[in-house]
Amino acid sequence: MRLRRRLAPALGAALLAAMAFLWVTPFLWTLVASFRPEGAGHADMASLVPDLDPTLENFRNAFDSGTFGLYYLNTVIVVGGVLAMQCVTVSLAGYAFARLRFRGRNLLFYGFLLQLMLVPPALIVPNLRTVVDLGLYDTLAGVMAPYFASAFGTFLMRQTFLAIPRDFEEAAAIDGAPWWAVIWYVLLPMARPGLVAFAIVSVTTHWNEFLWPLMVINDPAKQTLTIGLASFTLGAESGKEWGVLAAGTLLVMAPLAVAFVAFQRRFVDSFVFSGVKG
């Protein structure tokens, strides 16, 4: 009995360590391989042991193969643009559903629900047609447009607003504040954790999006990071330069990685605060 009590946590810790190692192995390899000198064929290329002679050659080749600076810029534009619009639409809509009573509220609520399931990738074929009809084909705006309204964000904000006691708003209303002042000065500051949680989800999702931008964008000057990276992998016939691939992958992952490590505590906390439990 006493042995089991001591053994169990030790076993648990060992298992956890093993899982963690398993989880991190692909990245370990990426790191090691991106510095390994060119040699697409040697049998040890999967080795996790770094080479004694590291090189930056792969990164140089990766940069040559694609204008990564431009990709970063485009991705930031898309992610930023989507988030900015979303903050506006979800705050307004969330407020409407949380605080106002109006005819057709239930119906409209279900309508929003629909968008949660019918994510743009599922409607890729008709949405492409719409984007073309709007004259937004091959533009970053075309990539962003379908995401400006967010059912997920609306629900999150509604949830967050509902959890805020009405006292503050009633006080503000008594003081004669109009609806927008109530939202801007009273509710939003208190709803910040929810907004942050939403922002994190939104940024991560759109940073990593692939299929939709691939279909909308042709101009290489407008390509996002994921498309740029994919051209590495989607090359047809023969061999692959694994070192360059690893370097390219690292370049795509780096910013999010750095951001996450820096804001890790905030990340987790916002998930807790937003009461994302249902």
């Binding site: 963690a20 109006f102 509902l162 609806w179 692939f210 439990k277």
Partner: protein
């Protein structure tokens, strides 16, 4: 599911002072329009990119326009496209694969997410590192992960086979064996998503009051019993939430198929969305793609509505 009651109209409570009719009248008219005005921006985009496409797809699914033979060849075929989709062995295979894929990813991912969350819920330094490691895969674009895994799965010299070889095991053809390919894709998906859902569970765990757990311990419950009878029920809302997101993910993310296997070998990794993509963009059979889209959308809706209902009930139960 009923939308919970809202507060009385804002601005309805007059400042008390000035004119009653003019200002109040205008305010009331404003207040009546307000909710719709607030919803308008969202509704515009929803209309354009959610409702309109569905309508278009519904209409398009009723026509057959063979590729490259000119518009003259387009003809109304009614339910013909639907019949063709259901009769297409590739569609049936994609649907079957999606089911296996769903179960194969949802179950391990949820279990792992919970297990990880339980293991790292306390905010120690060490746990912070672990959380980073486990969450990291979800930060990576699926395309990037797929490229990595292409190498990992490479026969003979890839990461997996290399280290398996060191302990004397000969790795199978992970992506080229039609029995194994789908499971390799499932493995990639689990690796990618477990950490993400782990965060939700950590939040959920931190919301369980210490007292409840202590009470259970005092009552003599051991770790397993605490888990089963106290923690899991308290996490029900989190689980439903995660389940909804994960299910939607299962049906809508195919980036890895596009990059890794393109549906192969011989449709072993074909998923519904990829089948639609192929039908539209490789076979140019837009009517058939539209029909398949509509059917998938119907399935998506059915699943999500049921889980939403369960979630609301769970939420109501917990609060």
């Amino acid at each position: 599911m009923a939308v919970t009651d809202a507060a009385p109209e804002i601005g309805g409570i007059n400042s008390g002072a000035r004119t009653v009719s003019g200002l109040a009248g205008r305010r009331r008219a404003q207040a009546r329009v307000l909710p719709y005005a607030l919803l308008a921006p969202s509704l515009i985009f929803l209309g354009l990119f959610t409702y309109l496409p569905v309508i278009r797809v519904a209409i398009e699914s009723l026509y057959d326009k063979p590729h490259g033979l000119g518009d003259a060849a387009a003809r109304f075929v009614g339910g013909d496209n639907y019949a063709r989709v259901l009769g297409d062995p590739a569609f049936r295979e994609a649907a079957g694969n999606n089911l296996v894929y769903a179960l194969g990813t949802l179950i391990p991912t949820l279990i792992l997410a919970l297990a990880f969350a339980l293991a790292v819920q306390r905010s120690t330094r060490f746990n912070t590192v672990l959380r980073t490691v486990l969450f990291f895969p979800s930060l990576v674009p699926l395309v990037a992960a797929a490229s990595l895994f292409f190498f990992i799965f490479l026969p003979g010299v890839g990461l997996l086979d290399y280290y398996l070889g060191k302990i004397g095991i000969e790795g199978p053809n992970w992506l080229g064996n039609s029995d194994l390919a789908l499971w390799s894709v499932i493995g990639l998906t689990v690796w990618k998503n477990a950490g993400y859902y782990m965060l939700f569970y950590i939040a959920g765990l931190q919301n369980i009051s210490r007292d409840t757990i202590e009470a259970a311990t005092i009552d003599g419950a051991n770790a397993w019993q605490r888990l089963r009878y106290v923690i899991l029920p308290a996490l029900a809302p989190t689980t439903s939430f995660v389940l909804v997101i994960a299910t939607i993910n299962v049906l809508t993310s195919v980036d890895h198929v596009v990059v890794l296997t393109r549906g192969g070998p011989s449709n072993a990794t074909n998923l519904l969305l990829y089948y639609i993509f192929q039908t539209a963009h490789e076979n140019f059979d837009y009517g058939k793609a539209a029909a398949a889209t509509l059917m998938s959308v119907a399935v998506l809706l059915a699943i999500s509505l049921t889980s939403m209902r369960v979630m609301e009930q769970g939420g109501r139960g917990a609060t």
